[in-house]
Amino acid sequence: MIGAIQKLLFPPPPKFYGVMGIYYFVDDAAKAVTSLRQAGHKQVRVYSPVPHHEIVHALEEGPSLVRWVTAVGGFLGCTGGFALCFYTIYTWPMVIGGKELYSVPPFTILGYESMILLAGLSNLFGMLALARLPEIRPAAPYDPRFQEDRIGIWVACPPDKTGPIEQTMKGHGAEEVQVHA
């Protein structure tokens, strides 16, 4: 029974082609990434329990684009909040003390809260989309040690080109090298 559930919920992982190096020391992993990229392997994936600055620099990653998604969400939220106030107050006019229907201070409060709400939601969805989450099918062989204290470096390549990558990883102090061919 449990076996059937396991098969249903966790189908066997897809077949991967490439080399996975497992590291303990951060500086070893960063040097390995630099060497692999210098050797022409631009699509290096690094798995780690926490992000390390040295590895981020070695990967030459730019800033996340999620900020633009957040900014657009915030702008839409702010204009939407103000628009809602104006629309509702003129659709259902409640004159109080003979004063004008529009009132900037309360509208600012609702516009402001709407801005934060939509900025937060767009930040969430932007992050999920850009980080390719949820990751239903793994993009590389996964090892639970990546959530503890080990760093994994994955380079996808055809089976006949694993040799130099394996040598580079071993040369930079890999604790373990797994060849998927």
């Binding site: 559930i5 396991q6 919920l9 966790f10 303990y24 020391f25 951060v26 500086d27 690094v46 798995y47 780690s48 329990p49 926490v50 992000p51 981020v56 996340s64 684009l65 999620v66 900020r67 957040t70 809602l84 106030c85 509702t88 659709t91 259902w92 409640m94 009132s103 309360p106 509208f107 609702l110 402001y112 809260e113 709407s114 934060i116 709400l117 900025a119 937060g120 930040n123 969430l124 932007g126 992050m127 999920l128 850009l130 980080a131 989450l133 949820p134 990751e135 239903i136 993009a139 590389a140 996964y142 639970p144 990546f146 959530q147 503890e148 204290d149 071993k170 890999a174 604790e175 060849v179």
Partner: protein
Amino acid sequence: MSTLTPPAPRVVASAHADPEKRPLTQASLNDDVLKLISLPGKIWWAAFLFDLAVLAVALAAVRNLIVHGWGVSGFFRPVMWAVDITNFVFWVGIAHCGTLVSAVLFLFRSHFRRAVYRVAEAMTVFGVLTAAMFPAIHTGRPWFDYWLFPYPNQRGIWTNVRSPLEWDVFAVNTYLTISSIFFLVGLIPDVAAVRDRAKHPLMKFIYTLVSFGWTGANYQWKHFYGAYLFFAAIATPLVFSVHSIVSWDFAMAQVPGWHSTLFAPYFVAGAIFSGVAMVINLLIPIRKAFKLEHIVTLDHMEKLAKLVLLTSTMVGYSYLTEFFMAWFGPNKAEADLFWFRATGYLWPAFWTMFSCNVIFPLLLWFKGFRRNMVAIFILCLFVNVGMWFERFVIIVTSLNRSFDPATWFHYTISITEIALIVGSFAWFFMFFLVFVRVLPAFSIAEIKETLPPPRRGNGVHA
């Protein structure tokens, strides 16, 4: 496959007698935090069943309120808000600390937050869930609560966006949404660690869903922290706005004791004050029960105690300013009201508030007191009692001593109201007890960032 370097030896944390000096490594941190997620023992079950029993009594009280009307709670004109809205403001205040610790201290790069923010965030989410119940019940006909939201309807009626109560609907719901997202997003990497250790396939499946299939890949971390920074940036003004808006529920009315521009900063400081005190009350038993003194250290607790001291002085300053303005200002009703607060028949509530929030926290000036866990646990209990009474004093004394002496009223608390107060704590702790057992109560990923990374170059390794 070839093994080139022998794996680093695993450190056993419990091997050290002094709990503060237990070694902490990346791998042992996983062990220490994830040991909380296990089948609960007898003490947990006893606490949980007791909690549910108390909650059942409170639900019976709510049922009476709904079936028989608000008269059974002793709410009569002019004191129509009484304990319900006292509870609402109290729990919104409690909820403020989580986002303060996770967002504001994140922007200021205060590293001590990493050990404590998950508990604070959980407290925020459960606090808002508790707070939101009270206005919902207070409407008297909770099945019509959806009228509070602006939605198109066949009569063309819209909510009054100029009403402070409508601002509250927007503020509290935005706060609940954003704080929940912040809490759940922060959990993603840690839940992946739980998933990897889950043995039962169903549990593994649930944790896989909650972790969104997180693997810790570089592109995931990049956008995770990119988004986290912006969550912090948008949650910071939200913290200050929400309790300001809650304060304007009162300040927009011309009732003596309420109509003051001081209210927004006064309420925000009070919210942080009570929230941090509640975090201390939650953390001390957890770190002791699960032997986590090396993760949540004395230094962390002392820094939280300093926050309590800081906000206590702000709250005390606000109390004194209120009295000064009442004495100095031209409003006779205001002056009478403040004199009544301190000397009228509700004086025990006022002096409990003042003692617990201003006088007792002065003990925190002493380092020895700040580093004594029993002492600050008891003090923070007093602070929370004091902060509940603060809201009670603001609401009840002002409502029952308004401008017209003909409306003055002798308020007494009813048994139904007491059931609601106790029930709100049972509701909150029901969520919290479950949280501690099913989700990582401490941020594994963020605490790991405070540990020196293993480097061959400088020899730092486990």
